[in-house]
Amino acid sequence: MSRIHKLDPVVIDQIAAGEVVERPASVVKELVENALDAGATLIEVSLLEGGIRRIEVRDNGCGMAADELPLAVTSHATSKLSAPSDLEAIASLGFRGEALASIASVARMTIVSRPEDASFGMEYQVLYGRPGSLHEASASKGTRFVVEDLFAELPARRKFLKRPATEAAHAQAWVERLALVHEGVGFRLEQDGKRCFEVLPEDDLGQRCAAVFGAGLAKNMVQIQAQADSITCTGHVGPPESARRDARRVHLFLNGRWVRDARLLRAVREGVKEFVPIGHYPTLYLSLQVPPQRVDVNVHPQKTEVRFRDERLVFGTVVRALRQGLAAAPWATRMVGTVGSTVQDRGSFPAPSWQRPQDLSAGLSSPSSREGFFPVPAPHLPMEVAAEDRGKGEFLSVANTFLFRAVAGGVEIIDQHALHERVNLEELRRELRQGQVVTQPLLVPALVDLSREELDLLLQHQDKFRKLGVDIEAFGETTLAIRGIPARLQRLQPEKLVLDLLEIAQSHRQATPDQIQEEMLFSMACRGAVMAGDAVDAEALESLLRRGADLPQDRTCAHGRPVRVFLSLEDLERAFYRR
C-alpha cells in the first residue's frame, strides 16, 4: 500500500510542464518572450527537425548574472514579479516563474549568459530537471538558450509530437506573432540551417505585416484605430478576399501578448460582419492596449485567454475600430483599382477605347455617334474612376447574374443580386433612421397558415415589424394576414418574408431587439432583391447602379460576399500571358 508523500520537485515540474510545454513551439514562445522581457533588440531562433532535436534562442538582452542562473531554472523563480500587488498589474509577458523550470524538466537545457557589465559569460546545464555544472564560457552580451531532445525521457509526451514540418510551422507561427507586435526588435528564424523568416529591428509595422502576410496582401491592408477611455485599439485589416474560414490569420495582441480569446474573436466577427462572408475571419493584426490593472491574463498558464474588467467597453472598441476602418477602406467604396488587383503602379493606363470617358465626353465623340470605322483615340485616364463616372457606362449582362463593365484600368464585374441586396439594406436603414420604413399596404392581404405558437411569436414582434414596414395581424387563430410590406421592395413575396422573419424570431429569442432588427433588415434586403438569373431591364440596372453609387459602401453584400470584383488590365494581361 502506497503512502501519501510529497512529490519530488522534478516530478512537480514535469507535471506543470504539461500545461506550459506542449510542443517545441511552446518552448520557442517562452524563450522568445523571456528574451523580449530582457530587453533584447535582436532575437535569433534556430530549429533542428522542427525543434524536436534542438532549439536555440539567442538574444542581446540584459543577460543573467552567474548567481541567477541556477535559480532561474527552479520553479516559481522570476525577476518579473515581487509583491502580490504586482499581480494586479502585470506588464511583462512572463510572470509565473514556471517556464524555464518546466522546459528544464523535460529536455536537456543549456544556458549561456553574459550581462553587459560582466567580462565573461557563464554556462549552466540542466538535464531533465537535474541541475548540472556552472562554469565560465565565452559569450557575447545577452543570453543563449539551447534546448535539446525535448521529451526524450518522456516517451508518452514525445509520441504526441507531430511531424517535424508541422512542429516547425507551429514554431514559426509563434515567432511571426511576436515579431508582428514587437516593433523595434529584430527576429530571425532558421529551420535546419535555412533562414525562413526575418524582420529587422528597424522594420515598421507595414514591413512586419508584409513579412507575415505576404507583400501583396499587406499592401492592401488598411489601418484601423479606435480609442475609448484608456483603451486603445490599433491594427491592420485585410480586404474581404483574404478572409478564411479559420482564424489562423487573426492576430490579436493584448498589451503585446498574443491572445486567442473566444470572446474577443466573437467581437472581431461582429466587427467585420457585412464585409466578410459569414463564418469567415479576416486577415487581421489587432493590438489592444488596456491598462494592466483592468485585465487579468493569469487565467491559463499559456496566457492566451484573458478576462477583462469591463468587457463591453473593450469589445465595443474592437468592433468600432473594425467597422470604422472597414467603412473607410478604399475597397469598401465603389472605387476600383485596389482589391484583387495586381496593379503596382497607380499611374495612368489608357482607357479602353470602347469606354466613353464621362468627364471628357464634351470634347470627344461617343462610340455610338462614331462614324465610320476609325477608332476614337484612347484618352489617358487616371486609375480611379471619376465620381461622375460611377454607375454609368455600358454594361454587359452575363447569365442574368453578372454585369461586366469596362472601367478605366480594367474590368469591373458586379453581382446583381449582391448589389441590389446592399442597396436595399442601406436604403431601408436610411428610412429607419428617418423614423420608419414606408409601407405599401396590399389590396388583398396575403395569408399565411401557421401554428398557434408561431403566430403568437410573430405577433409579439408586431410593433417592430410595423417599424420595418411590414404590417401583420392575426386572421383567425392560426392564420396571419400580411397587410402591408415595405414599399421599396417591389420584388418581395410577402409570404416568404414572413416565414423568414418567423425563423429569425425563433432563433434569436435571447438576442437584443437591435440584433433582431438587424437580422430582419438583412432578410428583407435579400428577399426584396433581384435574384441571380432574373432578367432585369437596362433601365432598372442603371437605376440600381446609380443608387449603389450613392451608398456609403457597396463593396460587399449584407452577408459579406463581394458585390464588385475588379480585374485590372494587368490581371487580364497575365491571363493571356502578355506579361
Partner: protein
C-alpha cells in the same frame, strides 16, 4: 415541298410566329417553325409549350405541297437579311431545305418533313394545338380587346406570387360582357367591354401575358374588326384574321377583384390627365428611385404634388383640379400613378377617395377603373 413567296410577306409572317419559338428548347423541334405549303397558301406554326402561333399567308406560288419543321431563329434571321424580292424554298430528297433568294442560297436542316399533306395530323414530334373551328366562345370588337389588354397588362405582377397567378391577366365573361383585370397586389386595373357574339355563358381564365403582348403587337394589322376566342381547357385560342394565337392558362387563384374595387368614394377629384402627368413627372425627378414617394395634398380646387430626395432636394408642383372637399393628404408610388395615367382613355380623369389609408379609385375612361393602394406611414 416547293414554293415561291414574296420576301416581305414571308418576313411579316415570320415576325408573327417568332414569339412562339422556344429560345432554349429542351427538344430542338420546339425551336423550329412548322411550314406547310398547300394550295397557294402557306401555314406557319410555332409552339414553345407556353404559347403557340399559327399564321396563314395567302398568294403563295406552291409548286409542290409538303411540310417541314425548320430551325426557327435561323430562318427568321436569314429572311431579315436577304435582299431579293422573292424567296424560294425547296424540300430536297435528303430531307433538307434549300432556300434561294436571288443570288443567295442557304441549306437548312429540317427536324421533320414530308412531301405529302396534313402536317398537323402526321407530324410525330411537333407539339400540336387544336384547330379553331365552329362557333367561338366569345367574339368581340378587336379594338375593344386591344384596349382592354393595354389597360390591364401594365399592372400585372413582375414576379411570380406563391398564391395568386397575378403575373397573368384575368379574363372573364359573363352576361355579354368581357372583363379584364391586372394586379400586382398593390394596384389593380379593371376594364369591361361588351361582347358581340359567341356562345355566351360564363367563362374565366388567367391569361399568359406573353400571348396578350403578341396579340397587342400584331392584332391591329390583321384584317377584320372581330376577335374570336375559344376556351380550350388549359389553352385559350384567339383568332384575328389570319392570325391564330394560343396561350397556356395560368393555374392558381386570382384575387377577388370585386372586393378590392371600392364603391363610390366620399371625395371626388376631377383632374386633367396631362397636367396631372406632368406634375407627377416633375415631382418624381426628386424621389429616390425605387421607394419613390410622392405626396398629394388636396385643397379647394388645387392639388399639390410634392416629393423629397434626401441629398438632392425637394419639389412641390401645384395645379388646378375640380375638388370641393376638405384638405386631404396621401402618399403614392408615382410610378403606379404614371402608368395608370398613361393608359387612360379620356383627357379628364376622376379620382375617388375615402381617406388616406383606403384604396384610391381612379376612373380613367369608360368602364375602366384603376385602384391604387396609398403608401402609409404607420407611426
Amino acid at each position: 415541298m416547293k414554293f415561291l413567296i414574296d420576301r416581305l410577306a414571308f418576313r411579316n409572317a415570320l415576325q408573327r410566329v417568332e414569339m412562339g419559338i422556344d429560345r432554349k428548347p429542351t427538344n430542338p423541334v420546339y425551336g423550329g417553325i412548322l411550314i406547310e405549303a398547300t394550295n397557294n397558301s402557306l401555314q406557319l406554326m410555332t409552339n414553345d409549350l407556353d404559347m403557340a402561333v399559327r399564321y396563314r399567308v395567302d398568294f403563295v406560288q406552291v409548286d409542290q405541297p409538303g411540310w417541314a419543321v425548320i430551325p426557327g431563329r435561323e430562318l427568321v434571321d436569314i429572311i431579315k437579311d436577304v435582299e431579293s424580292d422573292t424567296v424560294t424554298l425547296t424540300l430536297n430528297d435528303k430531307g433538307g431545305v434549300e432556300l434561294q433568294a436571288g443570288e443567295d442560297v442557304c441549306d437548312l436542316v429540317t427536324f421533320e418533313s414530308s412531301a405529302g399533306r396534313g402536317a398537323e395530323e402526321r407530324s410525330e414530334s411537333f407539339p400540336l394545338v387544336p384547330a379553331l373551328e365552329g362557333d367561338p366562345d366569345v367574339a368581340m370588337d378587336k379594338g375593344d380587346f386591344l384596349v382592354m389588354v393595354n389597360s390591364t397588362r401594365f399592372a400585372t405582377s413582375r414576379v411570380q406570387d406563391t398564391r395568386f397567378a397575378t403575373e397573368g391577366v384575368l379574363f372573364e365573361l359573363a352576361d355579354g360582357q368581357a372583363t379584364m383585370v391586372g394586379t400586382d397586389g398593390r394596384r389593380l386595373a379593371c376594364i369591361h367591354r361588351p361582347t358581340t357574339g359567341g356562345k355566351g355563358g360564363k367563362s374565366r381564365a388567367v391569361l399568359l401575358p406573353k400571348v396578350l403582348d403578341q396579340i397587342y403587337r400584331f392584332g391591329q394589322d390583321e384584317e377584320g374588326d372581330t376577335i374570336s376566342i375559344w376556351f380550350l381547357g388549359n389553352l385559350v385560342g384567339f383568332r384575328l384574321g389570319n392570325l391564330e394565337s394560343f396561350g397556356r392558362v395560368l393555374t392558381g387563384e386570382y384575387p377577388n377583384y370585386g372586393n378590392v374595387i371600392p364603391a363610390a368614394g366620399k371625395h371626388v377629384v376631377r383632374a386633367h390627365r396631362e397636367s396631372f402627368t406632368k406634375k407627377l413627372r416633375l415631382a418624381s425627378h426628386l424621389t429616390q428611385d425605387s421607394a419613390a414617394v410622392v405626396r398629394l395634398a388636396l385643397s379647394s380646387n388645387n392639388m399639390e404634388v410634392a416629393s423629397e430626395h434626401e441629398g438632392r432636394g425637394r419639389a412641390s408642383a401645384n395645379f388646378e383640379v375640380e375638388y370641393s372637399g376638405d384638405g386631404l393628404k396621401m402618399a403614392f408610388n408615382p410610378a403606379f400613378l404614371l402608368e395608370g395615367l398613361k393608359s387612360a382613355h379620356s383627357e379628364q380623369i376622376e379620382l375617388q377617395i375615402d381617406d388616406a389609408s383606403r384604396p384610391a379609385k381612379f376612373l380613367l375612361g369608360d368602364d375602366f377603373s384603376y385602384v391604387v393602394m396609398p403608401l402609409s406611414s404607420l407611426v
